[in-house]
Structure formats: structure tokens, C-alpha cells
């Protein structure tokens, strides 16, 4: 017979976890249903944060990550058409040391673009004709959807590259050798179609020709009306200050310098205003999920009175019983949280794929989300656990 002091009742953490898992597995459907609330809340939160992070990442890649694009114009003439800059403007700007690239466009006034000569001259489709340099896409961060862009070989000839919107309104969706448009009284060969250029929406609605062709065939005279440039990211302000004098030393006060990325940043900020709202909704869903778990655990304590009594008879201490219910509650919320993060990440990836952006699932949001879920589970489990622990064993056993 065993005599002497009796060891205390003890239970290892691993066994506690195992008991919790077995307890949940015995009521798997109920466990899954009660974890759904947390899962939905967390999925919403992670998806909102992921989607806004993904679109911010997309925006940053548009901005060249630094927002260092500047535009220079000479303002507008009396008739609203862009005023010309001096011929020297673009080479002079390109010579400012922090300027990484600079490219000029020239507005060809009075030129229209139509599908054929048979289309009435009044149907311009709002398409403007711009002279452009081969370096335009590099500076603006644009790309060609079909065909090729202007290059040294074709700038002298009647060749045109259409912006995305211009191509759409002309009904041209691909480039074949015979594709032509009727531009300012003669036919030009369409050699390329651009993708939308977020930093230069005016390019989308334009037909682009080479400067030499614009001079020779459209009478531009070589004067640019707008210059796009990228400056070293830490020198953007300094460059902006000297730009008016460099672009037009004779009339610096007429020169306007703007930073298109500022508009995009403001737009992105407006989009993240909704993030707070959705996060609040997610928090409410997590709260409701937590209340759901608390509810289920309370029901569970009542239903499992006999099991509680049995465990006490087998030597479980009060806190062993309480800890088991708390463990189940924590596991429920953890499963809900992990499922929610997976759903949210999947939604983010789906959104990013649909929008051709790169998916970003912010790690901090995932970690914080799972933390919040487990915290909710802990809060939800405390009261039921205390109730279970306080149950008198003899009373619990009588209630079978």
C-alpha cells in the first residue's frame, strides 16, 4: 500500500493542449460554426489591409517608388491650347545634374485624328495630336500594349502610336501592317498602341508622332509644350525650384511645375480612408465571434457537467478543469483566426491577380489579427472556464 505524502495532481501543458483538441474534435461541427465569426472578421480585416497594401505597392511602382516625376509646362495660350516652351527647354533641363531623364512632348494645335477621311472632321473623338520623343515611356513609366513605340528609325515618317483611350475611341485594338488613321489631312500608319499611363492621363487620349515628322508634316516648329522629367528622389524639391529658370529663362514666371505623383498619393489616401471603416467592421465581427465563442463555451460547461465531475473525480484540480475550457476557447479562436487569415490572404491574392498588381499580405496585419483573435478567445473563455472550475465535483456528478 502506498503511504507517505501524496504527490499533488499535475498536468503537463502538452496534455492540456491534447485534451483541448480532443474536446473540440468531439464537437467538430459546433467548433467550426462557432469559429466562423472570428474567421469572417479576421478575413475582412486581412483582406482590407492586404488589398490596400497591394494597391499601394502597385502605386509605388507606378511612381517609381519615390514620386520623383515632375512636369513642366508654359501654361496656356488665350485659346486654351498649351503655350510653347523654348526649343532649348528639354536639353537644358536634362543637363541639371539631379535630373535622371527628361522628355518633351509638343501639342500640335488644330490637328484631328479620324479613322478615315470619310469620317466628318467634327468627330475628333477628343483625341489630341502630340509630338513625342522615344524616351517618353521610360520617363513616364508607360508600356506598349501592341506594336512598337517611336524610335530613331520611325520618328521621321508618318507613323503614329495611339494612347489607350485614343485607340479605343478609334476602334483599333491591334496593330497590323495596313492599319492607318487619317491625321491632319493625311494617312499615318499605326505602329503601336499603349497601355494606360497612370502618371500621364493626357497621353492616353493622344496620338503620338515623332518630333521630326510633326515638324515636317504638321508644322509644329519643334517647340515642346510640356516636359516630363525624373529627378533624384532626394533632390526633387531643389530641382523644382530651378526648373522655371532653366525651362524658359526669358519668362520663368509663365512656367508651371507640377508633380503628378502628388495627385496619385492623395487619391491613394482617399482610398485608405475606407480601410479604417472596414477594419472597424472586421473588429465588430471579431467581437461578435468572441461573444459567439463565449456563448458556446457556456453551453458546453452546462452540457458537460458530468464530464467536469468525472475529471475532478479522476484527480483534476479546479484550475485543470478551468484551463481545459480556456484551452478549448483559445484553440477555437486560433483556428478561426488562421482560417480568417487564409481567406483574407486568398481574397487579397485574387484581387491583386484581377488588377494585375502584385499581392502583398502584410505580415504585421496577419500577426496582429491572429493575436486579436486569440485575445478574443481568451476573453471569451475566461468566464466559462471560471464557471467550470467552480463547479463542485459531487454536484457535477449528480447531474448526469
Amino acid at each position: 500500500m502506498s503511504a507517505g505524502p501524496v504527490p499533488r495532481s499535475r498536468m503537463r501543458a502538452r496534455d492540456m493542449l491534447g485534451s483541448g483538441l480532443l474536446g473540440l474534435r468531439g464537437r467538430a461541427l459546433r467548433a467550426a460554426l462557432s469559429a466562423i465569426g472570428i474567421a469572417i472578421g479576421l478575413a475582412a480585416a486581412v483582406a482590407v489591409l492586404g488589398i490596400s497594401a497591394s494597391s499601394r505597392a502597385g502605386l509605388l511602382s507606378q511612381l517609381g517608388a519615390e514620386g520623383n516625376l515632375l512636369t513642366v509646362t508654359a501654361g496656356q495660350g488665350f485659346d486654351g491650347t498649351p503655350a510653347p516652351l523654348p526649343l532649348t527647354a528639354q536639353p537644358m533641363i536634362a543637363r541639371i545634374p539631379p535630373v535622371e531623364s527628361a522628355t518633351a512632348i509638343g501639342y500640335v494645335s488644330g490637328a484631328t485624328v479620324r479613322r478615315t477621311a470619310a469620317v466628318p472632321a467634327i468627330d475628333t473623338g477628343g483625341i489630341s495630336v502630340l509630338a513625342a520623343q522615344p524616351g517618353l515611356l521610360t520617363t513616364l513609366g508607360g508600356s506598349v500594349a501592341h506594336g512598337t513605340f517611336l524610335n530613331a528609325a520611325n520618328v521621321n515618317y508618318p507613323a503614329v502610336v495611339l494612347g489607350a483611350v485614343a485607340a479605343q475611341s478609334l476602334g483599333i485594338d491591334r496593330v497590323s501592317p495596313g492599319t492607318q488613321v487619317y491625321l491632319a489631312g493625311r494617312y499615318f500608319a499605326v505602329i503601336g498602341i499603349l497601355r494606360p499611363v497612370p502618371l500621364g492621363p493626357e497621353i492616353d487620349e493622344a496620338a503620338l508622332v515623332g518630333f521630326p515628322a510633326a515638324d515636317a508634316l504638321l508644322g509644329l516648329g519643334g517647340h515642346p509644350t510640356e516636359i516630363y522629367l525624373r529627378a533624384a528622389p532626394d533632390q526633387v524639391q531643389a530641382v523644382a525650384i530651378v526648373l522655371p529658370f532653366t525651362a524658359n529663362p526669358a519668362e520663368p514666371e509663365g512656367v508651371q511645375v507640377s508633380r503628378p505623383s502628388a495627385i496619385l498619393v492623395a487619391r491613394a489616401a482617399a482610398r485608405t480612408a475606407f480601410t479604417g471603416l472596414f477594419l472597424a467592421l472586421g473588429a465588430v465581427a471579431i467581437l461578435i465571434g468572441g461573444v459567439g465563442i463565449a456563448n458556446i463555451m457556456m453551453i458546453s460547461v452546462v452540457e458537460r457537467r458530468a464530464e467536469i465531475g468525472l475529471r475532478r473525480a479522476l484527480g483534476a484540480r479546479r484550475w485543470h478543469v478551468g484551463a481545459q475550457f480556456l484551452t478549448e476557447s483559445l484553440l477555437l479562436s486560433l483556428f478561426g483566426g488562421v482560417a480568417g487569415v487564409l481567406f483574407g490572404a486568398a481574397a487579397t491574392v485574387g484581387y491583386a491577380l484581377a488588377g494585375h498588381e502584385s499581392a502583398v499580405v502584410p505580415g504585421a496585419a496577419v500577426a496582429a489579427g491572429i493575436g486579436v483573435a486569440v485575445g478574443a478567445g481568451a476573453l471569451a473563455g475566461v468566464y466559462p472556464a471560471v464557471r467550470a472550475a467552480r463547479l463542485a465535483p459531487a454536484e457535477a456528478l449528480r447531474s448526469s
Binding site: A3, S9, R27, H320
Partner: protein
């Protein structure tokens, strides 16, 4: 010889607007390998006696000694330790956990013991398998309670009660939910436990159980009115 369980002048009163006295000044000693049956009508205090013997309830007055140690004032941690190491319970309603199989249910009997050997889940399983073998359920190891007959369920419960090698097994109406054939098997099993020194205390109405035990304690209205001391 020290009694494994000893009640001295134990009373148990349930407080309330009309207090109920379930035990009145009960003296009882249970010795190793002794087979005791506690008989009495419903409401005579049998189950309360069993719960006080099993440290599941504290007496209102009197002392409870287990292997000579006074336990009526011990804290929860030590009382639970005594239940985990020294006592085994068998209930009328079996109290098996439905979603666990037989081995897992029996292994629960070791879950709360402090010794290192029992802390290993694999060792607990092995001991549970051995205990199930001893009660004749070696072929039903992975069956769940729903797949077992009532008699088999009670045998699983007995295996769970003895897997921790207790000094005493306390059984509350162990045959109450069984037909007479299954009940007879359970009685034989319980009576057989005394062979390796375990004391057995069975609380019952069932005269068939009484016949298989050495000592009869008769209760009425919370008092022990007859105790043959095993000297039949």
C-alpha cells in the same frame, strides 16, 4: 493495521432554507483488500457517504483520514492528488466520454497523476491497454462508448478506475443501468479487485452485489444502522 479510509464522527449537512442532513455522525473504517457493500434505501445518505469517502465532498463535521492522513481540511491541489493516486471511481452512468475510444477513456485515469512515467502519453496508452486487457476488453480497444454494450462500458469504467493502481475503488450503483447478466460480470470484476490488495466499496440497492461482498454496512436516514464488519 492502518485503515486506508477512515471516517470518524462525520456529519454532512446541506445548508439552505430547510437544511438537509445527509450523514449523521458516521464512523467507518475501510481496510486494504476489504470488500464492503453499503446498502440502504434511496435518500439514506449512501451516495453522500461515497462522495465524502472519495474527497469529492467535505464533511460538515468530523474527520476523514486516508491512509492515516487527515484530509478534510486539505487544499484542492492535494485533495485532487489523493483522488488521482489513491482513489478510483465507478459510476452508475459510467461517465465515459463519448467521442473518445476505450483506450483514451481509460488513459484519462492517469492524466492527472504527477509521476513522470504517467506523464508520457504513450506510457498512459500502454497502461490503458493493459487495464482493458484485465477487464476482458482487449479486443475492443478502439471502440467508442456508443459502440459498446452497457456491460462493456462499465468494464471500461472499471479499467479507468484501476489503471492508476488506487488503494480503494469506490463504486456508486455500478449495476444500476445493467441487466442481471451484465451486472453479474461487473460484480465479479469488482470483487476480484481485492485480490491484489485494493479495497472495494460498493454503494447499491442490488442484493446480488451484497452477496458477493465480505462486509455489509446498512444505512438509514444518514446513519449507519448495521455493520457486520465482514464477519459473516
Amino acid at each position: 493495521m492502518t485503515a486506508v479510509l477512515e471516517l470518524a464522527a462525520v456529519s454532512r449537512t446541506y445548508p439552505g432554507s430547510s437544511p438537509v442532513t445527509a450523514l449523521v455522525c458516521v464512523d467507518l473504517q475501510i481496510h486494504a483488500a476489504e470488500r464492503t457493500v453499503v446498502l440502504g434505501p434511496s435518500g439514506s445518505g449512501k451516495t453522500t457517504l461515497l462522495h465524502v469517502l472519495g474527497t469529492l465532498e467535505r464533511p460538515s463535521q468530523g474527520s476523514v483520514r486516508i491512509s492515516g492522513q487527515e484530509v478534510s481540511a486539505l487544499p484542492d491541489a492535494e485533495l485532487s492528488g489523493i483522488r488521482a493516486h489513491r482513489l478510483g471511481f465507478v459510476f452508475q452512468a459510467f461517465h465515459l466520454i463519448d467521442h473518445l475510444d476505450a483506450v483514451q477513456n481509460v488513459a484519462l485515469g492517469l492524466l492527472y497523476q504527477g509521476g513522470r512515467r504517467q506523464h508520457d502519453a504513450r506510457a498512459r496508452r500502454a497502461a490503458a491497454v493493459e487495464a482493458l486487457d484485465r477487464v476482458g476488453l482487449g479486443s475492443r480497444l478502439s471502440h467508442r462508448p456508443g459502440q459498446l454494450s452497457g456491460g462493456e462500458c462499465q468494464r471500461v469504467a472499471i479499467a479507468r478506475a484501476v489503471v492508476g493502481r488506487p488503494d480503494v475503488v469506490l463504486a456508486d450503483e455500478p449495476t444500476g443501468n445493467l441487466d442481471s447478466a451484465a451486472g453479474a460480470e461487473i460484480i465479479t470484476l469488482l470483487a476480484g479487485l481485492a485480490a491484489d490488495g485494493t479495497a472495494v466499496v460498493v454503494v447499491t440497492h442490488d442484493p446480488a452485489v451484497a452477496a458477493a461482498m465480505d462486509r455489509r454496512v446498512q444505512m438509514r436516514d444518514g446513519r449507519v444502522i448495521a455493520d457486520d464488519g465482514g464477519t459473516r
